[in-house]
Symmetry: C2
Subunit: 555 residues, 2 copies
């Protein structure tokens, strides 16, 4: 029997957990940590993407030993398991498995920060540790160290994001790149430490490649094991830090700007994982759809978009980045940025004191006797709207690795309800799909990729949200977001169709996605058959019954 | 049958290639590229380590298709295959397989530079491409790009070194870290491209992790496939470059110095893969054993070592590094180095013009009317011997990534014959074993590791050669070298025993080696049984007959 058929059969014959399986699971983690209540399963099965899959049971282990016992038990009972760390995989599937009825293995109780090594600048943590928790711990106990964060949910899992090869914002933004040394529970329930040993190896969390084959990559974007502990490299707090924002004057200069950013990145002038965002992206952070359009339009009419751009002073493309190092390093980086970027647009530098000033100005311009003239002055001389001024401290902070709830609000762009302080888009029935192809970082490639995607957004009637993220000095992700209303079946259908069309068109043009949503993972077998044939052989060797996250990234 | 037994049986029953196998191999690559002459096999079976293994046949394919056909043929005939790129794996085994009688798959004919992408700063090359070849090609055709090099043989393979996770000297010194996108022939003869596709993927050589599981690590320090093509990231030529040398005044300050280097590396002040070397290491580059001692002593007597140190002005520890970037970046890096290092020793900066001057002074001090006073002045004011002055340009060059034959001469330290211009230690019966454990980069760890190794060198009666290499900002390799005479059976026995004792003692203390010699790879199964059990499962899935490089890194 081929592996495909085997996998298909074994998964299709898997049912929901029966009473015996539930009893076994409860015996492992305790009654309180196994749930089959409809409310819990419904909530866990909600996601911002269309057609998420509802799990059959939720199990929350407290240790690697419990994870191992759960996997062995599920194997025995013919159940398939979908591990999630914090379940914040918004836009790609949240907590949803590829297939219905999974045992949702929720690792959020495993949230210990096991070690912080100040000299060597790393932490050893469990998968339930969130960005907010890690940063809070560092600020309180180890103020000489900073961690990276995403501009996504502060409650996201540091390990979960890294294993899905997510991207942050600082020079430690390549999250998988800063992961070093793992403890993994294999589908058989065996516990393995990566790195090639020996037992108690002192470089487990400092030497990324270890000795012997480097296998940690096998546990990223895959389904070969459950990572229950990992080392994460941290930054020494720099002597000096400044952030900058840049607004491109002419949209047509985007390719030129991309080439400059690449050169600055290759020459280590800009080392942070820059996010270059378009107007819709900025508007989605600063504002919401006008109420009268939210339920009627899947796409902002051009004149409304123009009005919003004028109101919030938003241009075609803008980006921010962090500069860190010694005072002299930051000073010369500023000088170099000015030399390279100033001819193309408006460049502003921000430090901790300007941020404090901006906050005071913002407060005063919101109310009080000088509100009107202050707002005028801010718009006139800084070229910023009050909303941009309000965003400033969050941008500056996140570029220092400080998590913020601020940016996640963009998910509510098309929602009729006001944005909550803490975004919960799954719960709030937000419709949002990320689609994130990646291009060589040249103006030509990025322009070509946008040229493929933007017309599809227009054809299917959705706003073209685009953020260009520097994955490394040679690659740029085009993160697009499909905002749709879940209460409008035509928009749901349209979002599904646009997503499929984007995948099809970009892949045909030779662009891969840097990360996939659970509903599209099946396409890997079509687009890279030799590669998937290889990874499936690995899968069969490590998980012969295909019980762990079947279908994840094509295997 | 367990995999172990299976592997053992299948390898033990493998014989030398018979006439039918040879005919098949000749039909694939052509008569001229299959050799079973005693001279060729003897030469290929020579290595600087004790007990190298002689191959049964040497096959030199010209393309990936030929590699695939060779692997299929060898599988059919029950032969095992040992691929080498350029065969310069000196100190670890040269071209030697783990086991006797291999089909030596020599990839040196596959030496095409397929692409150089100037904008994205990478090259796509075949495994036969050497450092000298790549650098020559760049200098001639793409002078805006630099490649890294090792301070080992210029004829070493760029891909071969990277796959064995070797280390260079610049900020691109982590060679596996700069490898991106591979074409691999699997043991079954299938051709696979890494990275997850799609076909013709444009980010194959720019986005290291690809999509889906990151599998390239499986082809490093392993035996799961033959890499026939890979992308290698290159550096944009910096606007400014300077090198520096530093001599530590008091040997006892080494731990302090290691901590400073770590801090400078974590803060991106020192980004090159610094080599911090001890007196024996420097002496081995500058000089040879006094002739009357070479055949009689396995270790320099202390008084002779003191004399040589005085003659060549060599201290306990010294290191060099490169500084590159904009002029301002280099200037402030110098300032920072001066601030941190000057209190501990003598720091000198070198640029292209001082190097030219040094060469002229060296020439004049070697002969001519001013030779004596010039030598005196160089020793008195620069603190350098003439031999150090001669080394200067090579150090400066290699730190810019320019390969040099100069350093490899150190292999002849204990040889009775003068050092040739191009070192060929295998041919010249040089005895040399590398042993390279890795430590977290703290003064405490490095000191502990030296404290384990140095007494063993003394106990077994060998010179303690040590080079501390910055693998990354958190890890330091202690590269030690056992120099021994192959014509002295007691020294050969002693070298074997010392090597075993070093492996035993460092492993027991929790230190792994960053790279292994072919004669010690069997120990991985003992020191990391769970890890090797995992990699053997992968091996069985990808190479069920264990025909490719059996025993390599324990699998």
């Amino acid at each position: 029997m081929s592996f495909d058929t085997l996998l298909k059969t074994s998964v299709e014959t898997r049912g929901s957990p029966d009473a015996a399986a539930l009893a076994d699971l409860r015996a492992i983690v305790g009654d309180a940590h196994v749930s089959v209540t409809a409310g819990d399963l419904d909530a866990a099965g909600k996601a911002t993407i269309p057609d998420p899959k509802r799990p059959g049971v939720i199990v929350s282990p407290a240790s690697a030993a419990e994870v191992a016992a759960v996997l062995r038990t599920c194997g025995r009972h013919g159940l398939h398991v979908w591990p999630v760390s914090a379940g914040r995989n918004w836009g790609y599937g949240s907590s949803s498995a590829v297939r219905e009825g999974a045992v949702l293995l929720r690792l959020s109780r495993m949230n210990r920060i096991i070690e912080v090594n100040e000299a060597l600048a790393y932490a050893v943590i469990e998968p339930g540790v969130t960005y907010r928790q890690l940063r809070g711990h560092l600020d309180a106990k180890h103020p000489g160290l900073w961690c990276d964060t995403t501009d996504g949910p502060p409650e996201g899992s540091v390990i979960g994001n890294a294993l899905d090869r997510g991207l942050g914002v600082t020079h430690y933004g390549d999250h998988f790149g800063t992961l070093c040394g793992m403890e993994v529970v294999l589908p058989t329930g065996e516990l393995m430490t990566t790195g090639g040993g020996p037992e108690g190896c002192k470089t487990l969390h400092t030497h990324k490649w270890g000795v012997g084959p480097y296998v940690e990559g096998l546990f990223s974007q895959s389904n070969l094991g459950v990572v229950t502990r990992a080392g994460v490299w941290l930054m020494p707090k720099p002597e000096a830090f400044a952030s900058f924002t840049f607004d491109l004057t002419r949209g047509a200069d985007l390719p030129k700007l991309v080439d400059i950013i690449r050169d600055l990145a290759l020459r280590n002038i800009v080392t942070s994982a820059v996010h270059l965002v378009n107007d819709v992206c900025t508007l989605s952070v600063l504002s919401q759809y006008p109420a009268h359009l939210a339920t009627t339009h899947s796409r902002l009419p051009d004149d409304v978009r123009r009005e919003l751009r004028a109101k919030y002073l938003v241009g075609d493309w803008s980006f921010g980045g962090g500069l860190q190092g010694t005072k002299a390093q930051v000073r010369i980086a500023k000088r170099e940025l000015r030399r390279r970027l100033a001819p193309l647009g408006r460049l502003m530098f921000v430090d901790d004191s300007t941020v404090a000033l901006a906050s005071r100005v913002h407060a005063a311009a919101r109310r009080g006797p000088l509100a009107k003239p202050l707002e005028w002055a801010v718009r006139r001389f800084a070229g910023k709207s009050l909303e941009m001024l309000e965003a400033g401290p969050h941008i500056h902070g996140v570029l220092k690795g400080i998590p913020s709830d601020y940016f996640v609000r963009h998910a509510y762009f098309k929602s009729s309800t006001p944005r909550p302080d803490r975004a919960q888009p799954d719960r709030d029935d937000i419709g949002l799909i990320w689609f994130a192809p990646i291009a060589p970082m040249t103006g030509g490639h990025v322009d070509e990729l946008i040229g493929i995607c933007r017309p599809l957004f227009e054809r299917f009637g959705f706003d073209f949200y685009a953020a260009l993220l520097v994955q490394n000095a040679r690659s740029m992700i085009l993160l697009t977001s499909i905002f749709f209303r879940k209460d409008d079946p035509r928009q749901v259908d349209g979002a599904r169709a646009l997503y499929a069309a984007l995948g099809e068109a970009t892949s045909r043009a030779g662009y891969q996605t840097y990360r996939m949503g659970v509903s599209s993972m099946g396409s890997l077998a079509r687009t890279a058959p030799a590669f998937v044939s290889f990874t499936r052989r690995l899968k069969q060797a490590i998980d012969p019954d295909g019980m762990l996250a079947p279908g994840k990234y094509g295997a």
